[in-house]
């Protein structure tokens, strides 16, 4: 075993510099604490999610509703492979399996009565109730967060909605209405930081949703 030679010191410094440079660039590009990405229960604090998640895939594998999906490189290289919620594939019933199998604590404690994954936002240009009658989301909501106004349009109570996504999962807007491009349904769960920017539970169209 050699001692600390100049060669090993330079090598160590080079490796550190390369990795720190690469990591720093990636973090500067994608490390924002505000995100439109929906996280599984207990993964809502983005800095902690990015610090701990090893992208091991256990939460995705254990999820019995299939709602857990993976962020893609398109979402940012740093976020790629971290778990996301895809409500087109299922809704969350807060069974707690994903939190239980997470080996690093990236999915921490979550109380469906008080914490939220996000908030459901009605998309007026897509919602079937704005064209015909439709009450699917109101009937499906396990937390009675959706009611109908006088015109029969769904209204989300943001103080009750915890973003479980059952409404988005069941929404038939893309089935009942003619193809209008994209995959946005009549009701869409927005991440907590996105909802904070919006400040309301109904938007006219996609541009308002993403503003």
């Amino acid at each position: 075993m050699t001692g600390c030679t100049r060669r090993s010191f330079v090598g160590f410094c080079t490796a550190s510099a390369v990795l720190a440079g690469f990591g720093g660039a990636v973090k500067a590009a994608d490390g924002a604490s505000d995100t439109d990405i929906l996280r599984p229960p207990g993964g809502q604090f983005e800095p902690a999610m990015l610090a701990t998640c090893l992208k091991c895939d256990r939460c995705l594998s254990i999820c019995h509703t299939g709602v857990i999906s993976l962020a893609k490189v398109d979402d940012g290289f740093m976020k790629a492979r971290t778990p996301t919620m895809d409500f087109h594939k299922g809704g969350c019933d807060f069974c707690g399996d994903c939190q239980k199998v997470c080996p690093v604590g990236a999915l921490g404690a979550f109380d469906p009565a008080h914490n939220r994954l996000g908030t459901a936002i009605v998309q007026k240009d897509r919602c079937v109730a704005y064209f015909n009658g439709c009450t699917e989301c109101r009937e499906a909501c396990p937390f009675n967060a959706i009611s109908l106004d006088d015109a029969g349009h769904p209204v989300v109570d943001s103080s009750v909605c915890n973003g479980c996504g059952v409404c988005e999962n069941i929404c038939p807007a893309l089935v009942y209405r003619s193809f209008a491009g994209g995959t946005r349904r009549g009701i869409v769960v927005a991440s907590p930081s996105r909802f904070e920017k919006l400040g309301k539970t109904a938007v006219e169209d996609e541009s308002e949703m993403m503003a």
């Binding site: 050699t2 990795l19 990591g23 902690a48 610090a51 091991c56 895939d57 993976l70 290289f77 790629a80």
Partner: protein, 316 residues
């Protein structure tokens, strides 16, 4: 006998891939080698665990237990993961099945050495001193795993960058993680018709690391470096040569096939030039190469008849 363990290694690495696929197909929660297990019982990538704990400055119980589990496994089996579970040698085998002799000596890939016909290796034009590979990637083989070992620099860099930036930096480019990321991306392409840049970017980085930087395992891999460090405490399942059967120690022939076959530069007959035993991946290439079948991997060191390292000085 020849190549038997090579086939076994391919099968075990494929079994790991199959287990990941099982986890994707049914909701077992198996995971990938980054962390895997059944329900609460899980092993975790020791490097990932270190990074995650450093970045978040917290150690949750499952992380601690998973790390302890892997540490115990490594103490018992040494670096066996590198030869038997890691998908990187598997990828090399699949995508670069043929490596020229000169390259084989240079990269010292497990498979080429293990599968080289015995006649060829004895009639090799290379002088034996060159074949001894006493120097290895610029450092003497005996000093592998030390401060001069470039893998340890990457390990150090991984820890420093993760502590500085607050997220697991190396995980982003880890070839083990990216192999399964690619697998999952392809799986989801077929299951959900889900297309993304991931399908391009992950394999691209993987190709760069595994096929372009062919010396990844011996030169860069910080996971291998960490397993080596833990393996310093490994005393079980170490290769031993039976002194009576071995042609070299019995003085019957100048045979060095085991040393030439070893991808980690371990020489059972010469402790001076040999890489430390903590580098052993239990790949069994030496046992396959031995014409006398003198090398075994006993659970515990045998007391008599065998010496793990002969004291006989090197003759030239």
């Amino acid at each position: 006998m020849k190549g038997k363990s090579r086939l076994l290694r391919t099968l075990t690495a494929l079994a790991v891939v199959a287990a990941v696929c099982l986890g994707l197909a049914v909701h077992t929660g198996t995971g990938t080698p980054s962390a895997w297990g059944i329900q609460d019982v899980a092993a975790i990538c020791p490097l990932g665990a270190l990074e995650s704990a450093l970045a978040s400055k917290t150690i949750v119980p499952p992380l601690f237990l998973g790390f302890a589990f892997v540490a115990v496994l490594t103490l018992v089996f040494g670096r066996a993961f590198c030869a038997w579970g890691c998908p990187v040698p598997l990828l090399r085998r699949i995508f670069k099945p043929k490596v020229s002799d000169a390259e084989a000596v240079e990269t010292s890939c497990v498979d080429e050495c293990a599968s080289a016909p015995v006649e060829d290796s004895s009639a090799s034009p290379l002088p034996s001193s060159k074949k001894r590979k006493v120097f290895w990637q610029g450092v003497p083989a005996a000093e592998r795993g030390g401060l001069g070992d470039s893998r340890n620099w990457v390990l150090g860099g991984t820890i420093v960058s993760t502590a500085l930036l607050g997220f697991p930096v190396f995980c982003l480019i880890c070839p083990v993680g990216l192999t399964f990321a690619t697998l999952i991306a392809i799986w989801r392409l077929f299951q959900f018709a889900e297309t993304s840049l991931s399908l391009l970017v992950f394999p691209l980085i993987l190709v760069l690391e595994v096929l372009v930087l062919r010396k990844w395992c011996h030169r860069f891999c910080p996971l291998g470096a960490l397993l080596s460090l833990i393996s310093r405490g490994n005393r079980t399942l170490r290769p031993q040569s039976d002194t009576e059967m071995c042609l070299h120690t019995a003085g019957k022939a100048e045979c060095r096939r085991c040393a030439d076959a070893c991808p980690e530069q371990i020489d059972l007959h010469d402790s001076v030039v040999s890489a430390p035993m903590s580098e052993c991946t239990k790949c069994r290439a030496c046992a396959d190469a031995c014409p006398m079948g003198a090398i075994s991997f006993p659970l515990l060191k045998a007391k008599k008849k065998t010496v793990p390292v002969a004291s006989e000085p090197e003759k030239d």
